[in-house]
């Protein structure tokens, strides 16, 4: 990336006052990146920013509370930071935010599907428009826009909303590649039993690993998640699909008015359960009723923590 060196310079400047800076670096193969914790000067050089920088590093922030933390954020990640600030879960003065203009990150599930069973990845070259992946047997050329994560195809915040350092030129508001919630709307047009059966079928695969929860920047209950708690005892520990669905509903409702649709829950799922759709549904209703979007304004009061005596967009049933 063009601004990568500029970003490294900024981090170099800020690092003496920080305990750690969160970024990304290369991983086990050229197609993957991994979160990178920069603690020393020499760690800076390993920093890599690319469409493979998929992880929302804001997830680490509440756990690092009390430390001076720098964080590199994509536009969507910055909304999680805003949300954490709004909820009092991190202190602004402890956080140094490095923003850059994000042109989108890939969806590894889409790449995996395109490659099929291709064996090990030898090289991966990403240009503005294509990803060329050399596997053991041949070179695959994929169109970048088609490999982008869904959230990037509808992205309206490519630049960090909040930052102390911003490198590169801001993109502003881009024209989304797709309209919001198109997939959700298609799903909603299915019949009631189809919808009901869909979640049973999808969540049947769930292994209750709770990667969705661990990746979520706003799942902040730490060791006291409703999933495993006995007080309150929302869910049993049995292997049954009812509790698996219920957990996703609990997650979605606890995210209502908070979720920024960063998609980490779905990305982290090892069995590719489309759990983001539940949060999108919640968000779309919140948007329709309250014209509210989470993670945009750290001073805003989220709709479920406030009320109006007369609610303009709520029509109660007449009996």
């Amino acid at each position: 990336m063009k601004f990568q060196e500029e970003l490294k310079d900024s981090i170099r400047k800020a690092l003496p006052d920080l305990d750690v800076v969160l970024g990304w670096c290369g991983s086990f193969d050229p197609l993957h990146a991994t979160p990178h914790f920069i603690r020393r000067e020499e760690d800076i050089d390993k920093l890599e920013i690319s469409p493979l920088s998929v992880h929302n590093l804001a997830t680490y922030l509440p756990g690092l509370r009390g430390k001076k933390v720098g964080i590199v954020v994509k536009g969507c990640d910055s909304r999680s930071v805003v949300e954490l600030l709004q909820e009092n879960l991190i202190n602004r003065e402890d956080i140094t935010i490095f923003g850059f203009p994000c042109t989108g990150v890939v969806d590894q599930a889409k790449i995996k599907k395109a490659l099929g069973h291709a064996g090990n990845v030898r090289t991966c070259d990403i240009s503005d428009s294509a990803i060329v992946i050399q596997t053991e047997d041949k070179a695959h050329s994929l169109t970048l826009t088609q490999m982008l994560a869904d959230k990037c195809r509808t992205c309206r915040y490519p630049d960090a909303i909040i930052s102390d350092y911003f490198v590169g030129d801001k993109i502003g508001e881009p024209a989304p590649l797709e309209t919001d919630y198109a997939a959700l709307e298609a799903f909603e047009s299915l019949s009631v039993p189809e919808r009901f059966g869909y979640w049973l079928k999808e969540l049947d695969r769930c292994i209750r690993c709770y990667a969705c929860r661990s990746a979520c920047p706003l799942c902040v209950c730490r060791d006291h998640c409703a999933a495993e708690s006995r007080d309150p005892h929302w869910l049993s520990q049995e292997n049954n699909v009812r509790d698996k669905v219920m957990f996703q509903v609990i997650h979605a409702y606890h995210m209502a008015g908070r979720c920024t649709e960063c998609g980490e829950c779905q990305r982290a799922c090892p069995v590719d359960i489309p759990v983001l759709m539940l949060k999108q549904k919640m968000n779309r209703e919140i948007r329709d009723i309250f014209q509210y979007e989470a993670g945009v304004d750290p001073e805003a009061t989220p709709p479920l923590l406030s009320f109006n005596m007369e609610e303009e967009n709520i029509t109660e049933k007449e009996w």
Partner: protein
């Protein structure tokens, strides 16, 4: 937990449509239930004794009674289990009367439903924990809001009972509506002669602090420990040094100020004392009419005031008072009758309200007690009274009866004849409601001795004819049209909730009905209590009332306060929220949503945590449903308790 279940027949109230023996038999199969029986009247003495005996015999750890609504007998049975040595919260009720036996006759469905409700109660009971009240000190001072006759009575009774009283009155003088009346029914004795001494008592009582021309800005706290912020509105006169001499009023050149006390009959000066018997007898400036305040010129009153107490720069001032109980006696206001086009909608000066007429009748009123038409100052000959103006009229949203208008109309008709022996009074009425002691005799006197013509019917139109008013209406008894040439028309306007009643209710956290009148705790058994502990009602703020009823309620409210304060400490309700410190992440969402400010942030090992102030917490549980962590749990209604009820009812 060993649980005992008692299924009540309630005579035949339940047994007629529920097989209580079958319910008891089914209950025996539930987890933890070791004893179940059906009993004739569980709430009776033998019924309660049976519970006590069973607790002892079977070593029960908790009890379920399936009977009527817990709103009826929960307290009763809590005392029963306590008598047997159990904590009062190790008890649950299943409502199989109001929610089952009384609403359907299908015995099979009812029995089945009753079993479900008992199951639900036992599942919850298994998760109940003993809860203990805490004792806290009470502040034995009382706030009386409103200085009308009801408030005065409550204040004097409390003060005589040895309590310190703070009275807050929004008008510049106490006395309320009664002070504006000339005479009272059915004795026709002088209103200010009976009220005046009471007002003086308030001013002179060593236990009463009076804030006149003041309003309640804010109320915090709870029964026993309220904190009240009082706004003393700017009077522009230093009341500490004002002697009420009235020189300022004599010399004030601005004589066009609204005379609120006299209901707008005539005008008053910009600086004024409402009436000679006002308590406190202090002057105040109406800034809208004061030339000095409006234009910076004049200053006559400041020059003449012998005690130098005029201050044109005065600002509203706030004082804080701490009290343990509150008596709300904010009274009523008059319906705005100008909505009635048929009565001229306020266009005819000689159509006036009953209270304006009252001021006219009063010797200390603007006309010196002479009845004069507002239009030309002439004495009227024919006076027409129209009743039920803004009462018993659905079309204007006032379907209720204001209660006292029939009586004061009869009184005013009598007084009219006393003042003007040649006059003739007509009363258009719907029904005559004269249900008090000596009331019916009084209305008869108006008709028989004072020759008032009562016409049963409504007035359809008033219109001017020459310098008189033609009143056209129906006489429904004769089945005829009636027309009366009136010189003066007096409207018996009904009572409505006092302006600002709603806002005050929200500060007091009490409820009000759809007309704005405050809701009593129980329509029959708690007429002066509210559902907020430590807040009592007196007088017409609870509903239209005449003087004796208002006074009676004032005394009743005082008795309640004195009863409350007969203890030195109160017990707090232990059904409050409790924070699990290890689950709390200090996000403050509970603090943000608590309507009572009962949750504060505290620091625990360097981390922010929520902390519930038990005495302020009212037990609504909004925090519990707000906290995603489940870290704050309302005791007796925890997530687990409610989940266990859900699970008992919905078992896949």
């Amino acid at each position: 937990m060993k649980i005992g279940v008692f299924v009540c027949h309630c005579g035949s109230n339940i047994e007629a449509t529920v097989d209580t023996a079958a319910v008891a038999a089914a209950s025996r199969e539930f987890p933890d239930v070791v004893f179940a029986t059906d009993t004739m009247y569980t709430c009776s003495e033998p019924g309660q004794d049976e519970i006590v005996a069973a607790i002892k015999e079977h070593n029960l750890g908790g009890v379920v009674v399936a009977s009527c609504t817990p709103r009826m007998h929960e307290q009763t049975f809590r005392r029963t289990v306590e008598r047997a040595g159990l904590n009062r919260y190790l008890f649950e009720m299943a409502n199989i009367r109001e929610h089952v036996s009384w609403i359907g006759k299908d015995r099979e469905s009812n029995t089945n439903k009753s079993v479900d409700l008992v199951r639900m109660a036992t599942e919850k009971l298994m998760r109940n924990r003993p809860l203990y009240s805490k004792k806290f000190d009470i502040n034995k001072r009382v706030l009386v809001i409103g200085g009308g006759v009801a408030g005065i009575q409550a204040a004097l009774d409390c003060a005589d009972g040895g309590l310190e009283v703070v009275m807050v009155e929004k008008a510049p003088t106490i006395g309320g509506k009664m002070a504006k009346l000339d005479k009272t029914f059915p004795t026709v004795d002088c209103s200010s002669c009976i009220l005046g001494p009471r007002m003086v008592d308030v001013a002179q009582h060593p236990n009463i602090t009076l804030y006149a021309y003041s309003e309640i800005e804010e109320i915090n706290g709870y029964v026993g420990n309220f904190e009240i912020k009082v706004k003393k509105k700017a009077t522009y006169v230093d009341w500490d040094s004002c002697t009420g001499c009235g020189i300022c009023m004599e010399k004030c050149p601005s004589k066009k100020a609204t005379d609120t006390f006299n209901e707008g009959i005539g005008k008053t000066t910009a600086i004024n004392i409402p009436f000679p018997q006002a308590i406190p007898k202090k002057a105040k400036i109406d800034p809208d009419f004061c030339t000095k305040i409006q234009k910076g010129k004049c200053g006559v009153c400041a020059k003449l005031c012998p005690s130098g107490c005029i201050n044109y720069e005065m600002q509203d001032e706030f004082v804080t008072e701490k009290v343990g109980a509150i008596v709300t006696a904010t009274g009523f206001d008059l319906f705005d009758w100008s909505i009635y086009g048929e009565y001229g909608a306020g266009r005819y000066p000689d159509v006036i309200t009953s209270l304006q007429y009252e001021r006219m009748l009063s010797a200390s009123g603007p006309t010196g007690g002479h009845i004069k038409r507002p239009s030309d100052g002439k004495e009227p000959k024919n006076v027409v009274f129209i009743q039920c103006v803004g009462s018993r009229d659905k079309s204007v949203g006032r379907p209720y009866c204001s209660g006292f208008c029939c009586m004061y109309t009869a009184k005013q008709a009598i007084l009219t004849k006393d003042h003007l022996p040649d006059s003739q009074s007509y009363v258009f009425y719907m029904d005559i409601r004269a249900i008090g002691k000596l009331y019916d005799e009084f209305t008869r006197r108006a008709m028989e001795e004072y020759d008032t013509k009562y016409i049963r019917g409504r007035v359809s139109m008033i219109y001017p004819q020459g310098d008189r008013l033609l009143v056209r209406g129906a006489d429904t008894l004769m089945g005829a049209q009636v027309e009366v040439d009136a010189d003066l028309v007096v409207l018996a306007v009904g009572a409505e909730a006092a302006a600002g009643a709603g806002e005050l209710a929200e500060k007091l956290r009490i409820s009000y009905d759809s007309y704005g009148f405050y809701m009593e705790g129980h329509p029959k058994l708690k007429p002066v209590e509210t559902n907020t502990a430590g807040v009592y009602l007196a007088g017409a703020c609870q509903g239209p009332k005449d003087i004796p009823s208002s006074v009676g309620q004032g005394s009743a409210a005082a008795a309640k306060v004195l009863g409350l304060f007969s203890k030195d400490q109160l017990e707090s309700d232990p059904q409050v929220s409790v924070v699990d410190i290890k689950r709390c992440i200090g996000c403050g969402k509970c603090i943000q949503t608590c309507p009572f400010g009962a949750i504060k942030e505290m620091e625990f090992r360097g981390m922010a945590k929520a902390d519930v102030i038990e005495t302020i917490c009212q037990g609504c549980g909004i925090c519990t449903s707000t906290c995603p962590q489940g870290a704050v749990q309302l005791q007796h209604f925890t997530d687990n308790q409610i989940l266990s009820e859900v699970n008992a009812l919905c078992r896949f």
